[in-house]
C-alpha cells in the first residue's frame, strides 16, 4: 500500500516536472487505435481576454500541438496482449505526434480501458484533535479508511475522496478550516489487475518515456464528455471502445463507480466478418460505411457490395442488403448495452437522482445507437462528444477521442487523490514532538 502511495506520488511529481517543462504527451492505449496527443502548457489562459470565455474546465490552459493515431496492435480487451507489438504501435504514434509538434516529449500520461476495473466504496472516520479541520486531519481520515481486500495481483488505480462529513453535515467538498468534532470521509477506490499496469509501464519505458500519470479510460472519457451539470447531478458515461466498453458513474463531480464490459466495437466487426465471410478489414469498412441498428424498408433495397479478392467470382461479387448487416450488428450491440445495463444495475444507478446516460467512444457512432440505447438503458440517453480543446485537429474531435481529450483535462487538472495528501503525522516520529508543542500551546 505504501509502495503504491510512493509510486503514485512519484508520478505526480513527474507530472509537475512535465508541466514546468511545458510539454506532456497523452497516450490512449485502446484496442482499435492508439492515440497520442502532445500538450503544451502556456501558463495562463489566453482565451479569457480574447473571446470573453471563462477558463472553462481548465482546457484553455493548454494547447494541443501534436496529434497522431495509429492502428493498435497487440491490444485485446483494452489490455496489452503482445508486448512488443504494442510497443511498436506506441512508438509509431509518439513519433508521429512528436514530428507534428516538432518537440520532444519525455513524460506521458496514459490510460487504458481494460484490466477488469473494480470499484470499492471506502469509509473512514476520525475524531478531530482540535476542532478545526486541517490538511493533516484530511490525510488522517483518508488513512483511516479500512482497506478492502482487493485480492492478489490487483493494484489501486484511483483512490479519490468523494465526500466528507463533519459531525452531522455531509456532502462537504472541502472541509478544511471548518469546525467540528468528527470527520468522516467516503473514498472511491478503483482497482485493476496489476499485470495490465506493469505491461503498460514496461511498454512506455521501452519507448524511453516516463509515465507521469495513469488513469482509467472510463474515467477519462467521462470527464471529457459529461457536461458540468451532468457530473454534478449524476450521470453515467458509457465509453464504447474497440475491445472494452467502460462504464463510469459520476455524482457531485466525483466518479463514484467504474467498471468495464469486455466487449466492444471489435466484436461487432468480428461478427460481421464471421457472418459474411469477409476479412476483418473489409468488415470494419462495411461497418463504418453502412452500419446501422434500425432496419427500415429502405434498407432492404440498399445493397452493399462485399467485394473481396479471393479470385472466386461468385464470392467476390456477393451483395447483401443493409438489413442483413443490421441484423448482424444489432444483437451484438444490444448485448453490449445489456451488459452495460447490468453493470449500472449492479452499481445501483437507478437509485441516483438523475438517470442521464451519455454514450461516447468510437462505438457510439453507429447510426441509430441512441434509439436502441434508450430502449435498453432508459429514456435519458444522449450521444456525447468530447469537449473542444484548443489546437485539437478536426479529425480528432470525434467521439472516438473522448478518452484522449479527457486525459488532457486530467493532465491539466487532476482530481485530488489519496496520494496527493501527506502521510499522516502519526506515521512520523515527530508525533511526540508535535504533542508536546500542542501541550505547550494549550497550557500557556
Amino acid at each position: 500500500m505504501t509502495d503504491l502511495y510512493q509510486t503514485q506520488r512519484a508520478m505526480r511529481n513527474m507530472r509537475r516536472a512535465a508541466m514546468q517543462r511545458g510539454v506532456i504527451a497523452i497516450l490512449d492505449v485502446g484496442t482499435s487505435k492508439i492515440a497520442c496527443l502532445i500538450l503544451r502548457f502556456d501558463g495562463e489562459a489566453r482565451l479569457r481576454e480574447v473571446e470573453g470565455v471563462g477558463p472553462m474546465a481548465g482546457q484553455s490552459k493548454f494547447r494541443i500541438i501534436g496529434a497522431a493515431t495509429t492502428r493498435s496492435r497487440g491490444v485485446r480487451f483494452g489490455e496489452i496482449a503482445v508486448m512488443n507489438e504494442t510497443e511498436r504501435a506506441i512508438r509509431t504514434a509518439v513519433q508521429a505526434a512528436q514530428k507534428m509538434a516538432n518537440v520532444r516529449v519525455d513524460h506521458v500520461i496514459a490510460c487504458f480501458s481494460g484490466a477488469e476495473p473494480r470499484s470499492y466504496g471506502l469509509a473512514g472516520e476520525i475524531d478531530l484533535e482540535d476542532n478545526v479541520v486541517t490538511e493533516q486531519d484530511i490525510a488522517r481520515v483518508l488513512a483511516s479508511c479500512d482497506m478492502p481486500d482487493i485480492g492478489p495481483g490487483r493494484e489501486v488505480l484511483h483512490a479519490q475522496p468523494v465526500n466528507f462529513a463533519l459531525d452531522h453535515r455531509s456532502g462537504l467538498a472541502d472541509p478544511r478550516g471548518q469546525i467540528g468534532n468528527r470527520l468522516a470521509c467516503d473514498m472511491h477506490l478503483l482497482s485493476v489487475a496489476d499485470s495490465a499496469i506493469q505491461n503498460l509501464l514496461y511498454c512506455i519505458q521501452r519507448c524511453d518515456l516516463e509515465l507521469a500519470g495513469i488513469a482509467s479510460s472510463a474515467y477519462a472519457s467521462a470527464i471529457s464528455s459529461l457536461v458540468e451539470d451532468e457530473q454534478e447531478l449524476g450521470a453515467a458515461c458509457i465509453d464504447m471502445g474497440g475491445g472494452a466498453t467502460g462504464v463510469s458513474i459520476f455524482m457531485k463531480k466525483h466518479m463514484i463507480y467504474a467498471d468495464s464490459v469486455r466487449m466492444g466495437g471489435d466484436h461487432v466487426t468480428a461478427d460481421i466478418s464471421k457472418g459474411l465471410y469477409i476479412p476483418t478489414a473489409d468488415a470494419e469498412k462495411i461497418k463504418t460505411r453502412h452500419g446501422g441498428l434500425h432496419a427500415t424498408g429502405m434498407d432492404d433495397r440498399d445493397m452493399i457490395e462485399l467485394g473481396g479478392e479471393s479470385g472466386d467470382w461468385e464470392k467476390d461479387r456477393r451483395r447483401i442488403s443493409r438489413t442483413e448487416l443490421i441484423g448482424i450488428m444489432r444483437p451484438r450491440v444490444e448485448e453490449i448495452l445489456e451488459e452495460a445495463r447490468a453493470v449500472l444495475d449492479a452499481a445501483g444507478f437507478d437509485h441516483l437522482p438523475s438517470q442521464q446516460i451519455v454514450l461516447t467512444g468510437g462505438g457510439s457512432q453507429i447510426p441509430g445507437l441512441d434509439m436502441l440505447a434508450s430502449r435498453i438503458l432508459g429514456q435519458r440517453v444522449r450521444l456525447g462528444r468530447p469537449l473542444r480543446v484548443q489546437g485539437l485537429p478536426q479529425a480528432a474531435t470525434g467521439a472516438a477521442f473522448a478518452s484522449a481529450v479527457g486525459l488532457c483535462l486530467f493532465a491539466a487538472h487532476p482530481q485530488d487523490e489519496w496520494w496527493d495528501f501527506e502521510v499522516p503525522a502519526e506515521r512520523y516520529p515527530a508525533k511526540s514532538l508535535r504533542k508536546a508543542f500542542r501541550w505547550f500551546r494549550d497550557n500557556w
Partner: protein
C-alpha cells in the same frame, strides 16, 4: 499533417472484374497484394528522432554546425601559403590603389616662419622624396627630425589641401654668445645651441659668456646681465667659474666675483656702492663678493704701492702676480 484515420482501408478493385465479365471469360485469379505490415519506426530511428528533437541539440545544429563548417572551410582554404598570400595581396592592392589616388598625394613642401637658409636645412632634413601619399607620410617622425635641428625651436607639420605639406617653424632666437675653447656658439635663453659663430664681431650685439657649463646657467646669466644695466657699457662678458658661480669681466681687466647664491643681489649691492663712491672707476683689480658679509677689494700693484707710499710705508717688493 499525418492523417488521423487510424488505418487505411484498401480501395476495392472492382473495375478489373467488370472488364473481365465484359470479355466473357473468367478473370485469372488475382494475386493478393502483400499485406503491408503496420509501419513502425525501428527503435533506433525512434531514438534518433527524439535526440534530434532535443532543443539544445537543435540549436547546436542550426547555429553551431554552420559556424564550425565555415571555420573549417576558411581554415582549409587559408592553410595553403600561396592562397593566403593571394588573399592578402588582393587586399594590399586595393589599399594601395586607394592610397595612391591623386587626392591623397603630397607633392609640395611649404616652409613658413624661417630664414631661407634654415628653410633649406629643414627641407634637407625632412628628406621626403615627394610626391608621396599622405597615408605613407609619418608626420610625427618628420617633425621629430626637424626639431632635431638646433635652430628650430618647434615645428608644426600638416598636410593642406592641394597636396601641400605645410611646415610652420618657430626659430630659436640667440641671446648669448658662448665662447669655448673650440669656437663661438650662439645660445638661446634656455642655453640651447642655436648656431655656431665664426667671429665675435658678427654678433657684437649679444653679450658674451664663457667657461665650462655656462650654457646650463644661461637664465642666471641673463638675470645678472639685466641687473648690470648701469655698467653695461663696461661689461665684457660673464665667465662661469667651476660650473658653480659667475664672474663679471669688465674692461680694464676688472673682475667682479659673484657668489654662488643670490648673485643678482650681490651685484645690486655692488652697484649701489659704485654709485655712491664711484668705486669701479678706481684702480681695482677685482671685487670679491663671494662672502656676502665681507666684500673684498683687490687693488692693482701700482695702486697698492701708491697707497703704501701715501701712508709712509715701503712699497711692496715685486711679487709674482697670482691669477685668480
Amino acid at each position: 499533417m499525418r492523417s488521423l484515420i487510424p488505418f487505411r482501408l484498401r480501395a476495392a478493385k472492382h473495375s478489373g472484374y467488370r472488364a473481365g465479365r465484359a470479355a466473357g471469360r473468367a478473370e485469372p485469379p488475382m494475386t493478393r497484394a502483400p499485406v503491408a505490415h503496420d509501419p513502425a519506426p525501428t527503435v533506433w530511428a525512434y531514438r534518433m528522432q527524439r535526440v534530434m528533437l532535443t532543443p539544445y541539440l537543435r540549436t547546436m545544429l542550426r547555429v553551431g554546425l554552420p559556424i564550425c563548417g565555415l571555420a573549417l572551410a576558411v581554415t582549409v582554404y587559408l592553410g595553403d601559403e600561396a592562397r593566403r598570400n593571394a588573399a592578402i595581396g588582393v587586399f594590399t592592392d586595393l589599399r594601395e590603389k586607394f592610397e595612391q589616388r591623386p587626392e591623397f598625394m603630397v607633392s609640395l613642401i611649404s616652409i613658413e616662419g624661417s630664414t631661407p637658409e634654415l628653410g633649406d636645412a629643414v627641407r634637407a632634413r625632412l628628406d621626403l622624396n615627394l610626391p608621396k601619399s599622405s597615408f605613407d607620410l609619418d608626420l610625427e617622425a618628420a617633425r621629430a627630425r626637424v626639431e632635431e635641428l638646433d635652430a628650430v625651436k618647434s615645428a608644426e607639420l600638416r598636410v593642406r589641401s592641394g597636396g601641400i605639406l605645410s611646415v610652420i617653424i618657430t626659430e630659436r632666437q640667440p641671446v648669448l654668445v658662448w665662447r669655448q675653447a673650440d669656437g663661438l656658439t650662439m645660445v638661446d635663453e634656455t642655453g640651447h645651441r642655436v648656431a655656431g659663430l665664426f667671429e665675435r664681431g658678427d654678433r657684437a650685439d649679444l653679450p658674451l659668456i664663457a667657461g665650462q657649463g655656462a650654457d646650463v646657467a644661461t637664465p642666471e646669466a641673463l638675470q645678472i646681465l639685466a641687473a648690470a644695466g648701469p655698467i653695461a657699457s663696461r661689461v665684457r662678458g660673464l665667465v662661469r667659474m667651476g660650473e658653480r658661480r659667475w664672474d663679471i669681466v669688465l674692461d680694464r681687466d676688472q673682475r667682479i666675483l659673484l657668489p654662488e647664491d643670490n648673485p643678482v643681489r650681490a651685484l645690486e649691492r655692488l652697484l649701489a656702492l659704485d654709485k655712491a663712491q664711484d668705486m669701479l672707476a678706481r684702480d681695482l683689480a677685482s671685487v670679491d663678493l663671494r662672502l656676502p658679509t665681507r666684500p673684498t677689494l683687490r687693488l692693482t700693484p701700482f695702486a697698492m704701492n701708491e697707497m703704501r707710499r701715501g701712508r709712509g710705508l715701503d712699497p711692496l717688493p715685486e711679487t709674482v702676480e697670482t691669477e685668480l
